[in-house]
């Protein structure tokens, strides 16, 4: 966007917002233009610095309700706007860890940095941020009471769905991922239990604790990201230069999981994950992926594990539900070579979206209703964790030394 020479601001006059917009801005973040505001909060904080006053004003806007869940990293509360008890929000309070001497944890820094910038119907909305006493950060998030996609996938008995529903969900996920990449953000932890469901059925991508902006050329990134079952082969091979297609692989794994109703490849270790990819999708080699053998963590697999890349017949047999066009899309997302894999944009341009069946309308989607407690569970997690699974704590700690 920076290359656009068009003036985003017409001189400086366009900063004057329309009254309605200005009002909504004030609700989101407190209005900086009115420091002399005679509100109750201001009176209380008299003499305090402007920043403290603004914080106090934001804090006064919300009422914290009952606890929805508690983890090592955060406590999640139900809350609402003081002026309107109907307007529910989730308040995620980041715990101050006295053991952690490095200040604000990286998960929180990443989540805040990116959620503050990304506003999209399929990305969890961050309404505002304030600190309570003792410097605890409180993230006021959109309230999403219908659980997450993982619950729907697992409830094989209770929840029935077909290609049309899968199309709706994947469409929403695809738009969320495209929007992240369009804003130069890699999510790096896409999986079903980070896809929360709103009251109206809309899917919302959550947990930006592992997200980061695209790197500048020649500057590497850590490969220790994305929960193992959803981690693409290049990261398992230790690649430090990668693109948005890491998220597209995760998206492909979610796509497959929606159809199979179990994770496509449930590796117990990183090597085992690679073995499963070799067996189920194909073994990476210089032919199907030029340059793969030069990756830092490349492992050669013996003949037993060496499988040619699975063709359309295999996919049609296993994922027939989505039809042959759908299978094309899945194969494009699960392409071994990240340079040949679809980008998020290409995913959205695929003809499967325009092929029968039409995606199910939001209101007709099956729902389970995980209820508020499930949101508490989902939000309190750290990036990279799966509860009670062998993939637990995979990417919990980023290895910053290996830069």
């Amino acid at each position: 966007m920076a290359v656009s020479p068009l003036p985003a601001q017409n001189g400086t006059s366009e900063i004057k917002l329309s009254a309605a917009k200005a009002k909504s801005l004030a609700v989101r973040t407190g209005s900086m233009s009115k420091p002399g505001n005679q509100g109750a909060a201001t009176a209380k904080a008299k003499g305090a610095e402007l920043a403290e006053q603004l914080n106090e004003e934001t804090r006064q806007k919300y009422v914290k309700g009952k606890k929805l869940g508690e983890g090592t990293y955060a406590i999640v509360y139900l809350g609402h706007l003081k002026d309107d008890p109907q307007s529910l929000v989730a308040i995620k309070k980041i715990k101050v860890n006295t053991e952690y001497r490095e200040g604000l944890a990286m998960d929180a820094v990443r989540e805040l940095k990116h959620l503050q910038e990304l506003s999209h119907p399929n990305i969890i909305a961050l309404h505002s941020v304030f600190s309570s006493r003792n410097q605890n950060l409180n993230l006021v998030l959109e309230y999403l009471p219908q659980g997450d996609l993982e619950m729907l996938i697992r409830d094989v008995e209770g929840i029935r769905y077909g290609a049309a529903e899968v199309k709706t969900w994947m469409g929403m996920l695809g738009r969320a991922v495209w929007f992240c990449h369009e804003n130069f953000v890699l999510h790096r932890d896409i999986k079903p239990n980070n896809l929360l469901i709103a009251a109206d059925g809309e899917i919302k991508l959550a947990d930006f604790g592992l997200a980061r902006s695209f790197s500048d050329p020649y500057r590497g990134m850590t490969s220790q990201v994305i929960t193992r079952w959803y981690r693409p082969p290049e990261l398992l091979f230790g690649a430090r230069f990668y693109s948005g297609t890491v998220d597209v692989w995760s998206m492909g794994m979610v796509f497959a999981e929606l159809i199979l109703r179990r994770p496509f490849a449930m590796g117990t270790t990183d090597i085992n994950q690679l073995e499963l990819i070799c067996q189920n999708i194909g073994t990476p080699n210089e032919e199907n992926w030029p340059g793969v053998t030069k990756l830092e963590g490349y492992v050669k697999f013996d003949n037993l594990n060496s499988q040619p890349v699975k063709g359309r017949d295999f996919y049609l047999g296993t994922f027939g539900l989505i039809g042959s066009v759908g299978v094309d899309l899945l194969m494009a997302m699960l392409t071994l070579d990240p340079r040949k894999r679809s980008t998020a944009r290409q995913v959205l341009d695929h003809k499967w979206w325009a092929t029968d069946p039409r995606p199910t309308a939001k209101r007709d989607l099956p729902r389970k209703g995980g209820g508020p407690a499930k949101m508490g569970e989902d939000l309190k997690r750290r990036g990279g964790e799966i509860e009670d699974g062998p993939g637990d704590k995979v990417a919990r700690k980023l290895n910053f030394a290996a830069r």
Partner: protein
């Protein structure tokens, strides 16, 4: 969704873009609030010293009888912050941090001092955390102990203590959009144009070859300079323009108010115009025709931005400027808010309040327990024991 629409959703646009007027009024409000705070704190400190009355009563009186304190003006605050922005650059460069860490740290300081005054929090104490926090947000994180080791006589605790204050001053928005990346894009486009591979914007009917020919005929930036005659010479012209523009983005763009007043593309285009106006105009011709009303509108903004960049405080301040900053710093010594001097202590007290697991107890709690102990000792001496507690008077548990 256009690029402009996306930019308008950014926090840099929503919270950190101003008109010159709103920017000035914000700074003056911040200054006024700080002056009030300083005066009231000094007044109550003096009252305490005289041993007058309770704390609460004095605070209220303080405002009515303002003590004579010579406070910093907005302009003095600005110069001092500017000086520490320079220090920030020097320090970030000394640590070999990439440009984006340095640039973000400087903007963090500038943003922080829009709603905070140096009279309340000295920039010397905010500078290290601005850099350290930028290493976190710009993906260049190093451990706090390694970081603190790079500073003389600074403990990890001193670095990290104002972190919360900083994040609050930043209104919990950490993303800073810099013009550097855009400049690199423009540079690549210019090189493509010089190689005969350039693509004009839709609606401009010129072939890549025509553009290449035109480019060779772009007059030199200064009349006495020789004309670039071949595509090769044009490329070396572009190279030197690129270096100079980059330097402006690393200095004047950061030290001036450019980030508050203009968008990243406006800033790098203005830098390009400052360095080589004929070449920059030619580049704009490939985007927006001279006849377009948008072009004249754009030029007004770019000219204003060029002025902002030109009037930036120097990145190499002379003797006079350094002396002026020393004078301001001396003046500040007498008008600092006495309540906010001990950032480490303030931070610890607040943390303790939140988590008392580490065994350290708040002074208040210690006092209260001592009082309780003394009371129970006294009561213990009474043969009938203490009076039964009345529920209504029961003290709240700590």
């Amino acid at each position: 969704m256009t690029e402009d629409e996306i930019y308008r959703t950014s926090t840099q646009y929503r919270l950190w873009s101003f008109t010159p007027q709103t920017l000035a009024s914000l700074r003056s409000t911040t200054n006024q609030l700080a002056v009030e705070g300083v005066k009231s704190a000094i007044q109550s400190k003096r009252a305490e010293a005289r041993g007058e009355g309770g704390e609460n009563g004095e605070r209220a009186n303080a405002r009515s009888v303002s003590p004579e304190v010579d406070c910093l003006t907005v302009e003095e605050e600005q110069r001092l912050v500017g000086y520490y922005c320079l220090k920030t650059m020097e320090f970030a460069n000394f640590c070999d941090f990439p440009t984006n860490v340095m640039a973000t740290a400087v903007q963090y300081l500038k943003r922080f001092y829009l709603s905070n005054s140096p009279m309340t929090y000295h920039p010397k104490e905010m500078m290290p955390i601005a850099v350290f926090f930028a290493t976190k947000t710009e993906n260049n994180y190093i451990s706090l102990s390694k970081f603190a080791a790079k500073l003389n006589n600074t403990t990890t605790e001193q670095v990290i203590a104002p972190e919360f204050l900083l994040t609050q001053g930043l209104r919990f928005t950490f993303d800073v959009r810099h013009p550097q990346r855009g400049l690199e894009g423009g540079f690549m486009e210019l090189l493509a144009l010089a190689s005969g591979k350039g693509q004009p914007a839709p609606g401009i009917e010129k072939s890549s070859m025509e553009l290449q020919d035109e480019m060779v005929n772009v007059p030199p930036a200064e009349a006495n300079k020789p004309q670039a005659r071949t595509p090769g010479e044009v490329k070396s012209r572009i190279g030197s323009v690129h270096d100079k523009a980059k330097e402006i983005l690393k200095t004047a763009a950061l030290l001036s108010d450019a980030y508050f007043l203009y968008t990243p593309p406006q800033i790098w285009m203005s830098a390009l115009l400052l360095v080589d106006e004929p070449l920059a105009s030619f580049y704009l011709d490939t985007k927006i025709p001279k006849s377009s009303p948008m072009r004249s509108k754009l030029m007004i903004t770019l000219r204003a931005c060029m002025e902002t960049l030109q009037s930036s405080p120097s990145a190499r301040p002379g003797k006079d400027e350094r002396a002026a900053c020393t004078r301001i710093d001396k003046k500040l010594y007498k008008c600092r808010n006495p309540d906010k001097l001990d950032l480490v202590g303030m931070n610890q007290a607040q943390k303790r309040d939140g988590e008392s697991k580490d065994g350290a107890l708040d002074e208040k709690i210690v006092k209260k327990r001592k009082l309780e102990r003394e009371n129970s000792m006294k009561e213990g001496e009474d043969v009938f024991g203490p009076p039964l507690p009345k529920v209504a008077n029961k003290q709240e548990p700590p």
